[in-house]
Amino acid sequence: MRAFNGAAGQYHAFCILVVDGSMKRAFTQFWRGGYSALPGYRFSLLFTVFWTGFFIILPLCALIIRPWQDGVGPVVAELHDARMFAALWTSFSTAAVAAFLNIPLGLFLAWMLVRGDLPGRHIANALIDIPLALPTAVSGITLATLYSPQGWLGYPLSKLGISVAYTRSGIVLALMFVGLPFMVRTVEPVLKNLPQELEEAAKLLGARPRQIITRVIIAPLRPALLTGFGLAFARGVGEYGSVIFIAGNQPFKSEIAPLLIVVRLQEFDYPGATAIALILLLASLSVLVCLGVLRRRISAWSVGA
């Protein structure tokens, strides 16, 4: 018994020593920049930590703590609010549909830019950035005008019996516009790095054109497509400016979650607004994490990507 105690004590002391030693070393590595002798480590460390602390960590803390500050009540009340769930559902479902519809469009445009010898490729390449560059308020009023029942595209669509403006399809259209560049820009570099020989090798091995497209071109692009989907989706869930003008903003129908936050703020319901914001943030972050895990699973063959 005594001997056992002694051994256990020694093992315990050993553990403390190891933990203590490696923690001390981790701290020294943190403080001295992994022992690099390049000057400027502490200056850039302090600057960066201070800046991210003030601009990111502090606001996040406020976002996480504020809903609970007036007790659990407002959060629970918010969780019983059907209007909030409807708004969250509208945001998430339209963002997912838009990002999904962007997959074939983005893939097609990226392929035309990289491999398709598209005439005016350089101009087309620059044009892809338009939705990114266009201020969201401008996209918003523009899309609302374009797809309104009197608009250039809205009029023919309404003749066909399709009403876009002030419905969920309007939201999807706006989010597709906003998300398209994310898809093209994530697929493009991967497609560019894909050796042309792959297609030739497949051809020599007797693959038919459709097999080449699905098995040799799209299969290696799947991680990039998923990343593009994730980016477009994340952008879509939070999108405000380009959507509110075309959405119609009817509660339970075409009201998006960011708009509901604004509505709550106008009612001076800070805890309510913050609770929605927190749920929106957590939900979109967890979707992104899931997509990341999925992406790692389907890209097990590529070490770097």
């Binding site: 590595q29 600057f47 991210t52 960011p258 703020l265």
Partner: protein, 267 residues
Amino acid sequence: MMRRGLWVAAWALIILVLIMPLAVVLAEALKNGFGPALETLKDPDGIAALWLTVEVTTIAVIANTLFGIAAAWLLTKYRFPGRTSLLVLVELPLSISPVVSGLVWLLLFGAQGWWGPALEEAGIHIAFAIPGIILATVFVTLPYVVRTLVPLMEQQGRDTEEAAALAGAGFWQILWRVTLPGARIALVSGILLTTARAMGEFGAVSVVSGHIPGLTETMPLHIESLYNGYQTVAAFTMAALLACMALATVLLRYAPAFLWRSREVPK
């Protein structure tokens, strides 16, 4: 034949989805001709909005450029515990809704915020005033310079910096003479993206600004007020102006590649 069909399809898509909106902006702005469009730009509230946008953008761009350089230097030249978390943290604003990005500043500095009332008493106005707009804009545009610099500086490694340090260069000399010249195309690109994003920011600014015409309305907010007030021509004229500014900024990113391509042949 098949190929031609694809070309037509691609350009049809580009025109329908990407060019059509631009055309609408111009068409709506010039609905009544050039004169009335230009006339709307003389509105003092519009001019105030333009200047406020320029002011906020300049401050946000300078602040985030300095931060971006320091953060990229830290994240690429050193390996230290916590580096990955810092990388994730810096990119976080990209996946946060603009409305939430504005809301957080109200939580800190608004009338019902943590420090808002105290600061208000001391005569410092942040929420529903220009400082709030600046804070929200800095938050939203924080990742862009870092994001463009980090991959390039990571790829360049730190050998050249170490060589410079061994030759006797100090931190500022290394940064100014070795690192930044080597990464200038990425840096310019990051600054331009930050600029375009800063001047177009709507959601975050809309939450913190308070919409006081002539005082706390930036161009995007002013466009919204005009549009909701059925002043379509004025709204689209201002939208056209803002769109031109933002598009020109983004397109400028392609310029340095043309100017400097001859010299920097990749290894």
